[in-house]
Amino acid sequence: MSQQPLVELHGVYRSFEKERVRIPVLQDIHLNVYPNEVLCLVGESGCGKTTTGKIIASLLDASEGEVLYNGRRMAEYDRKERSLIRRQMQLVHQDPFASLNPAHTIGQILGYPLKRHKMVNGRAELRRRIWELLTLVDLTPPGDIVNKFPHQLSGGQRQRVSIARALTVNPKLIVADEAVSMVDVSIRIGILKMLHNLRDMFNLAIVFITHDLALAKYFAWEGRIAVMYLGRIVEIGRTQDIIANPAHPYTRALLSAVPEADPNLTRKKQPIPLRSDEIPRLTAIPPGCAFHPRCPFYQPGVCDVSVPRLAQAPGYAQDTACIPLTTGEQLVPYGT
């Protein structure tokens, strides 16, 4: 991909201060988001997916490192350009009950950004555009929705309103943070399909955040996956490469737990047991590779000494952060 990325993260660190303790949440993140691609961020709860998503959407600043939007830092743009860039990146929140203001009707929620940024001329056009948007996200007939308040809609409908609201400002990128995890399973697929259609229609890039590798596999089959662990990206590459041939022990473990559609395949799968189920706290991240206390292929003296960097390992198409793999060694189970 030689296109100009929409967003580039170069060596980004982010920490939060909580009761005078510094919590490092993101460390040394390198990540590009290209136009019209699907990129999935996958990882356990608390590994920093949302924080990464908010940095991409320019809602949070990096503590260290460089974030480029269309090739330039935010500070290099003037006020007007900054507003435009910010609007190019929209966020769809996880919780559809919290992301719509209970005091506004759906028509108002969609109308405010349209009016504010003069995307429409006059009332007729405003109404027309709201009609259009609601139809786009399959909320039809619009008349049943437009004058309702968010609390009168179901979770799935609200999530659709939330997506329609993101579309009001013609974004180039949508960060969907666990966008379907709080929606009934039966309507998830509908919303995911709709996101795909919208991506094709408006040439959108989608950063899809999820803790569920199976969902990532389904949603980003044509795109890329970045697997995160404790604030770092441990593996990144094309979804098909990662699913077919996972490199990092953490990805392998995650993947071995994903059920297959074919029960015979599921039965044949060898689960890869971790040495520990305990996720270390962010204030006490293990030295060296953060995953080594749980890694089934732990090599003492190698993994707990220096921090692995993302690189292509021999025999793999994707990049991975695992010292034995990138130096071309075979992984051997710990203790044998």
Binding site: L91, H93, N101, P102, I106, R127, I130, T140
Partner: protein, 393 residues
């Protein structure tokens, strides 16, 4: 401003204001809301003249319109495709639609008011006192001078227990206590409300600023409020009241407001701090809707019930403080006044005489009932302003 209070002119204004909702109601066969709207206009016109009648026209007409308005011609309900739908809307249709939605909101609010029994009783209590202070003077004359002629044969004082003629008895000077109760609330209630409004305004402004701007502004405001909070309030009030020796009640309200905003400011600050982390505020930031929109449209509507409840508390606190000052003889208020009634009855020894017991108790009961009504009413406020109880058109 209130020249037309409770006069025939006010009644006429109210009558003409009420014709609009009534006429609309009759024309579109929504008789009940029409009549209610008419009565509401009549009463508020009578009570406050233009200041009551004109706003009430808008409100009551909106309610009537909201009953009449059925969504029939709205393009949004159309199941046709985009090109076949006409999105044009004349200004008149637009206004009607806006009024209908305002009417809906008012109906939801009154439902919220009716839902909580305690709160509704509180509301009735407040209305009772409002009606008493506004309309009472029409039927009862104020007795300010000593009434020597009421002295009963053989009695040593003019003090009298309740009788058919004087239901609450007579005070030391032979004046009808009922008239003092009716006239004595006005100044006290208005001064308390003034203090409450100012205190709330200061608290909301400073609290939002502290929460939204943070940093130095936040520290300065918090330091100032801590400073005021640590000084014992009532003694300070006493000292200030005696130093300033003000002669009008508005100054007293200002002083009360200046001393009482910190507690509410802290509450507002905490509320804004929590509201500004909401996802919908974050969405407004990425949509670049601007700071003004975020404060006025995203944060404020979700705080109204909270602010209203705290406003009521501020009014209560101000009323207690004023009565306290009066009892210590340091208030600029003059007769007729409930606080001064308590002071008078105490200094004339009514507490020690069976004849004077109503004189001493009547103002205390009036103040207590008013306070109780306020407290009960706060229970309804939550429901009145809760947007989750609203339904769209």
């Amino acid at each position: 401003m209130f020249e037309t209070v409770a006069t025939t002119t006010g009644l006429i204004i109210g009558f003409f204001c009420g014709l609009l909702p009534l006429g609309l109601g009759i024309k579109y066969q929504q008789i009940k809301p029409g009549i209610i709207g008419f009565v509401a206009c009549l009463l508020s016109g009578f009570a406050c003249g233009m200041w009551g009648g004109v706003p009430m026209i808008i409100l009551s007409t909106s309610v009537v319109v909201s009953y009449i308005y059925v969504n029939r011609q709205d393009p949004f309900t159309s199941r046709q495709s985009l090109d076949e739908v006409d999105f044009e809307e004349s200004t008149q249709e637009y206004i009607v639609r806006q009024m209908a939605s305002l009417g809906r909101t008012i109906r939801a609010m009154s439902r919220g008011l009716l839902r909580n029994k305690g709160g509704f009783i509180g509301f009735l209590g407040i209305m009772f006192f409002v009606v008493m202070t506004v309309f009472g003077p029409l039927v009862i004359e104020y007795e300010g001078d000593i009434q020597m002629d009421r002295r009963q044969p053989g009695a040593t004082t003019l003090l009298q227990p309740p009788s058919w003629e004087y239901p609450l008895g007579l005070d030391w000077w032979g004046r009808d206590i009922v008239s003092h109760i009716v006239y004595g609330g006005q100044n006290l209630i208005i001064t308390s409300i003034q203090a409450g409004v100012m205190s709330t305004l200061i608290a909301v402004t400073l609290g939002s600023l502290a929460a939204l701007l943070g940093g130095l502004v936040d520290q300065l405001i918090s330091a100032l409020s801590n400073f005021i909070l640590t000084i014992p309030q009532f003694p300070l009030l006493l000292v200030l009241a005696s130093i300033l020796e003000f002669d009008n009640s508005f100054m007293l309200a200002v002083l009360l407001a200046v001393l009482s905003w910190p507690a509410l400011m802290r509450a507002v600050r905490a509320q804004v701090l929590s509201l500004k982390e909401r996802d919908y505020v974050e969405a407004a930031i990425t949509l670049d809707l601007g700071l003004y929109h975020i404060i006025m449209r995203e944060i404020f509507p979700n705080m109204i019930s909270y602010i209203a409840i705290n406003f009521i508390f501020a009014v209560r606190a101000a009323m207690y403080a004023i009565v306290g000052l009066v009892l210590l003889g340091m208030s600029p208020l003059t007769e007729p006044d409930w606080g001064i009634m308590i002071w008078n009855s105490r200094t004339q020894g009514a507490f020690y005489s069976a004849k004077g017991i109503t004189w001493a108790l009547a103002p205390i009961v009036a103040i207590a009932l008013f306070q109780l009504s306020l407290i009960l009413f706060t229970r309804s406020l939550e429901e009145i302003f809760n947007p989750r109880l609203r339904k769209g058109l």
